[in-house]
């Protein structure tokens, strides 16, 4: 299952030849599909739905865009975008110089005032609930028209990534007089003015948003003239729209959907590495009393047996397709450069699983098919959200395989807010979770550390605390040279501890119409480079004219 060599970090696909110069005669259209209505595609102001983000990313540039290496540490982790350059003043200060060519779509230049103004909005907790993302930033000061000095709370190799990639400036000259909480109902919200490769054309509520290329875009004329983001809440409806030729590209496709799409001659599959990691987390605490250890799962042999009972290779394939990795640690495909340890018996070993359980004292003494010990049956509850089809697939398969070795696991599915509430309450045995990891393994701090285990409301819901791992993680972060070996040691320790059953580090399976050339789909913010796509003139459709 180690096919990482096949998985491209950046899918750069030339689906056929095509002369980029001849492409000028074809204007080109891309129709994307999204689940939520992009009704308020304004960074920091609109809710962080996928629909809003997809459109906002086309309208509003970042100071820098992530390089094709997708490593977030250091001061070279970004390529210039709105900022033409940056320099370090001291371990806590970065100074950005904005590109003098950058313009808002109304012709006004992008200035340092815009950046400082937007920081004031982004750091207002009444407006932007995601304060954690920019927590590292202390203050932002405009110096003249094009220089921005950013002061950080502490030294960190992630400073550039945090602010440079996290900041999407808004136009101060249009929003300066609007109260931050009133932006959502302002004229600007109805007709956003951005600075990116695409400008706002129109929105038809509940149906689509249409964007047009900014032909004067200072980084180059977009190869696709029209970008339509179509709304269809139901994944199957999105599939049907693409099957009917009304949508040009779909991502995160489960295998049955991908198969149906690529069976069509005009649709090709593209595999992109992803930041997703899917695992069943073991609760370390007693479900009813977080001061006590878990009565059953505290025994490592039980956790190991439950992992060995599963044919994770088959499960991951049926839920996510052939390009999925089966890991033993919390490392998505984007973190494969840390060379995490290869998985131990990813296809399972039922005999060994039974032996481990017997060793731990679990036997079926009453003959009901469920193991027990001192009168307690081996019954566990696994929570999962009803919104995720792949997780449901995994859960249904795992339940059957666990039942086969005498472990009764009840699946408890709730809608997403109900799931989050349950998860936070600690009243569960296993949590079938899926995390879109940050681009940097430093983010392990938030759910895999003793510090997070003690802070209420953190994402370390299992209260997993392993001082040795903490030490190894901190050592890896402190490495100034190549940290690969240090991360490898940390992950080897995590593998041995079996804190969870890691099911899959899936790839993002994308289906794209074959008429495009220079198709670039990124592992994070997939559509940031759509403006670099082209339509091959000989394959153009009427909608491309």
């Amino acid at each position: 299952m180690r096919r990482s060599a096949l998985v491209l970090l950046l899918a750069l696909v030339h689906l056929g030849g095509g002369d980029p110069l001849a492409a000028q005669s074809v204007r080109g259209t891309v129709v994307l599909a999204t689940g939520q209505d992009p009704a308020l595609p304004i960074p920091f102001v609109g809710t962080a739905s996928q629909g809003n983000a997809d459109v906002a990313d086309q309208l509003f540039l970042r100071l820098g865009t992530i390089t094709s290496a997708f490593r977030t540490g250091g001061d070279r982790s970004l390529d210039p975008q709105l900022a033409a350059s940056w320099r370090r003043e001291d371990p806590r200060t970065l100074v950005f110089e904005l590109d003098p060519r950058a313009r808002w779509h109304d012709g006004t230049p992008v200035t340092a005032r815009d950046v400082a103004f937007t920081w004031a909005i982004a750091s207002n907790p009444r407006v932007n609930p995601n304060q954690a993302a920019l927590e590292l930033v202390e203050s932002v000061t405009a110096i003249g028209t094009r220089t921005v000095r950013v002061r950080f709370r502490r030294a960190s190799s992630e400073q550039l990534y945090t602010f440079g990639f996290g900041m999407q400036p808004l136009p101060a000259h249009l929003l300066g007089d609007v109260a931050p909480e009133a932006i959502a109902t302002s004229d600007f919200a109805r007709f956003p003015v951005g600075n990116g490769p695409y400008r706002w054309e129109r929105r038809v509520p509940g149906q689509f948003v249409e964007l047009r290329a900014d032909t004067t875009f200072y980084l180059g004329r977009p190869g696709i003239h029209r970008l339509v983001v179509r709304v269809a809440g139901d994944p199957s409806a999105r599939l049907n729209l693409m099957l009917a030729g009304q949508v040009d590209v779909l991502d995160n496709l489960p295998p049955p959907m991908l198969e149906q799409l690529v069976a069509r001659p005009e649709i090709a599959p593209v595999t992109v590495s992803s930041t997703l990691i899917v695992y069943a987390l073991f609760n370390t605490r007693h479900p009813g009393d977080t001061t006590r250890p878990h009565p059953i799962l505290a025994d490592r042999r039980v956790r190991e047996a439950m992992r060995l009972a599963l044919d994770r290779t088959t499960m991951a394939r049926s839920a996510f397709g052939a390009n999925t990795l089966v890991p033993d640690v919390a490392a998505s495909q984007l973190w494969q450069w840390t060379r995490p340890p290869p998985p131990a018996r990813p296809s399972g070993d039922v005999a060994r699983a039974r032996a481990l359980l017997a060793e731990a004292g679990w036997r079926d003494s009453d003959g009901d098919g469920i193991l027990d010990r001192n009168g307690t049956p081996l019954r566990l509850a696994m929570i999962l959200p009803s919104t995720s089809a792949p997780r449901q697939t995994l859960a249904v398969q795992a339940e059957a395989m666990w039942r086969a070795i005498g472990v009764a696991v009840t699946l408890e599915r709730s809608d997403f807010p109900g799931y989050l509430a349950r998860r936070g309450s600690g009243d569960w045995d296993l949590d079938l979770t899926a995390v879109n990891q940050d681009a940097s393994p430093r983010s392990l701090l938030t759910s895999w550390s003793c510090a997070s285990a003690q802070s209420p409301g953190s994402s370390n819901v299992a209260r997993w605390c392993d001082p040795t791992f903490d030490r190894l993680r901190e050592a890896a972060e402190a490495v100034t040279g190549d940290p690969t070996a240090a991360w490898q040691r940390a992950f080897a320790h995590m593998q041995a501890a079996v804190p969870a059953i890691f099911f899959a580090a899936p790839a993002n399976q994308v289906a794209v119409h074959t008429r495009y050339a220079n198709v670039q789909i990124l592992p994070i913010k997939a559509w940031l480079n759509v403006w670099r796509w082209r339509v091959r003139p000989e394959a153009a459709l009427p909608r491309d004219r």
Partner: protein, 323 residues
């Protein structure tokens, strides 16, 4: 009549208010953080939480919540959607059009084709055609609407490609396209959802009409008219159908709620941007202001529909007025 109408309208207004208040109380049982739609799974520190609670007013006591809601509603303000960050009334207005179009056309088909089929099958009960119609409508009624929708999409959109599989309009149609092109586009997008709605529900008007005609068919005045030698066509329309229409007309009012809220499953299959999917999404996201706002709209339709039904009944059957 005027006195009755005033009293009845007042009654409907009170019932609407009562229903909405009940709903406001009911949504309090929803589990999870009331700010779940805003904070999603972002890690939030206590200071941020306090600021957000203050802004969205989610830690207020129930009495204040109710008072604020009623006060706002009287000014036409139903609050702000937590998930969309926009006024509830704005979102409702955006979604109302598609729902009214689909529901209104369904009702139109019911009260034309549905009634005609009901009359025809009642007058020719023993024919093969009547039995086929009866059987088909029974199967349509017995199938869940979304199964009909899935089958229609499979056949007419994916296999034969005659109609689009989902959506309300074609985004690639030029925004300045002529009226003809726009109309054609609407019809193409309406074809499958409307057929689904009609197939799933037309059994109701057919059966009602058929039962009503069955009653009037052998009524004394019909027998008398037949004896007088009135032509069969005139007999059918004038003497049998007219009186049988009375109970049907009241159906119109009772079906008004369906026009707004009855299509949630069909809307889901066809990604139809209507009120039904809005309510389902809002509940799944704990967007309480949106749930209450959309629910209030539905409650209002129910009350208006029932008022309308009573009114129509009095218009077509003035004898009621005396009672």
């Amino acid at each position: 009549m005027t006195h009755w109408l005033v009293r009845r309208t007042l009654d409907a207004a009170l019932s609407t208010l009562g229903g909405v208040l009940l709903l406001v109380v009911l949504v309090q049982v929803l589990p999870g953080d009331p700010l779940a739609a805003v904070i999603r799974d972002f890690p939030t520190d206590p200071a941020t939480l306090t600021a957000l609670r203050e802004r969205w007013g989610t830690d207020l006591p129930l009495g204040t919540v109710v008072a604020r809601f009623v006060g706002g509603a009287l000014r036409g303000d139903l609050g702000t959607s937590l998930a969309a960050g926009r006024p509830v009334t704005t979102v409702l207005a955006e979604r109302l059009g598609p729902t009214l179009l689909l529901g209104g056309l369904t009702l139109l088909v019911h009260f034309t084709i549905g009634l005609a089929l009901g009359l025809w099958t009642a007058l020719h009960p023993r024919t093969l055609r009547a039995r086929v119609i009866g059987g088909l409508t029974l199967v349509g009624y017995a199938l869940p609407s979304f199964v009909i929708g899935l089958i229609l999409v499979w056949l007419f959109a994916l296999t034969w490609g005659w109609f689009p599989p989902a959506g309300y309009s074609d985004p690639l149609l030029a925004s300045d396209a002529g009226l003809g092109a726009v109309l054609l586009d609407r019809v193409r997008h309406l074809a499958l959802p409307l057929t689904t709605m009609v197939l799933a529900t037309i059994a109701v008007p057919i059966r009602h009409q058929r039962a009503a005609v069955d009653e009037t068919r052998e009524a004394p005045w019909v027998v008398a008219a037949r004896a007088r030698g009135v032509s069969p066509a005139r007999l059918a329309v004038h003497h049998i159908w007219r009186p049988a229409l009375t109970p049907i007309v009241t159906l119109l009012g009772l079906w008004l709620p369906m026009l707004v809220g009855g299509a949630v499953f069909v809307e889901a299959v066809f990604a139809w941007p209507g009120i039904g999917t809005l309510i389902a999404e809002a509940t799944a996201q704990r967007d309480v202001p949106m749930v209450v706002g959309a629910g209030a709209l539905l409650i209002l339709t129910v009350q208006v529909g029932s008022l309308l039904a009573d009114l129509l009944y009095r218009v077509v059957d003035p004898a009621q007025d005396a009672a």
